[in-house]
Point group: C2
Chain length 113, copies 2
């Protein structure tokens, strides 16, 4: 088994239209995770992920900060200790609406590989 | 999509030889999670999960508290902000060795259903 602090994994700039967003790939297929992967996102105040849609779900846990998830029409607020489930094919965008870094875990299936 | 605080989901006593452990099933197959599920465990000081083995992996993120993961021979310590990956078929037991409640997220594939 493996035990490590998330900060040991390098934060990389998120791609695909994200603004002021970094991602750490904490548990990956290369590590032996055959079914799904663990990522930790950090979004700076005013930052956001792209408004997009894909065929895989997101399972999200908000660790710190506050923000909204926008579906193209309405924004739903969230804060630390909140769970966000985005089913496959639903539009979504995460925005930091607070004054400090927003941190959340986001799990996705390995299907997209 | 769904957004909610984890405390809105009832904590149930964990089964199978766990001692002073509760579990909240936060994202489940019933909610539309086809590939993997999100659970939040709370272990009281002195409590532990069973020492066991199974064919599915664990992806764990430690939210609060401290403890060890025991593989039947050695104990590896962990604390908040630690990631624990337990591959399939590896023995493991989570123990709270601290003075306050240990809280962690634990994700498993839906394979076991």
């Amino acid at each position: 088994m493996k035990v490590f602090n998330y900060e040991e994994v390098k934060a990389k700039d998120a791609e695909g239209g994200a603004f002021h967003v970094t991602v750490r790939w904490l548990i990956t297929k290369n590590m032996g995770a055959n079914n799904f992967v663990m990522r930790l996102f950090e979004i700076e105040p005013g930052g956001y992920s792209p408004l997009h849609t894909h065929s895989w779900e997101h399972e999200v846990f908000i660790l710190e900060g506050e923000g909204v998830v926008f579906d193209g029409e309405k924004s739903t607020p969230f804060a630390s200790n909140n769970v966000v489930f985005v089913p496959p094919d639903e539009r979504h965008q995460f925005k930091n609406t607070g004054m400090k870094t927003l941190k959340f875990l986001c799990f996705i299936p390995n299907i997209k590989d």
